[in-house]
Symmetry: C2
Subunit: 126 residues, 2 copies
Amino acid sequence: MGIIHRFTSIEDGEFRWQDVSVSAYGPENSRADLATRQILIGMGEQSPHFHMRYFAVQPGGYTALDQHAHDHGVYILHGRARLRLGDEEHELQTGDVVYIPGNEMHQFFTVGDEPFGFLCVVPAKR
Amino acid sequence: MGIIHRFTSIEDGEFRWQDVSVSAYGPENSRADLATRQILIGMGEQSPHFHMRYFAVQPGGYTALDQHAHDHGVYILHGRARLRLGDEEHELQTGDVVYIPGNEMHQFFTVGDEPFGFLCVVPAKR
């Protein structure tokens, strides 16, 4: 049987869904109070191959500087960001798609006055 | 090295990205002229675990009635749809998330006057 998480509201510029809990993101993130994570498709949905998460980062915040074996598929849902990707930096806008291969260093910084939110797909086994 | 596909425009209500080709969707779809597919993250991006595609269906159109072993992670980017999912039917709005397990029958029908568009994540091996 399929599972539907209905979009319910926008709170402080961040998206919310039915039956999806919101958690602070990343103990290693010094601005963890400015970033949240929601697992839209994960172990709770018994998804065996991939998981889909939503991250929101308030103005002034950023995600952890990460480098790990698994890859990411990213879709920017709202706002703008600066992405450190390996040795490069990129500006990202709503609607942009990013593929981050395994072992590539990456970090997102919110740009501007609006919260930055993105979908992040990862392998289920990681 | 990562890959970025920048969002470029909206054409006939459908999203477009840099360096992403648009193809008609589904020879088994009697309204194939009303549906398009774009592979945002796939073999071209050398993504080994999951692929991310975007489908757009114009008003009056629908996707093929599908049933297959692999699962889908769906995020509704714009518009509205009716989803046949197994024996049930659901109305979907922009922002809704759907997890469709393997072997579950499914078909999307655009509802209303606006094109319906969604991200669809699948395992790379299927």
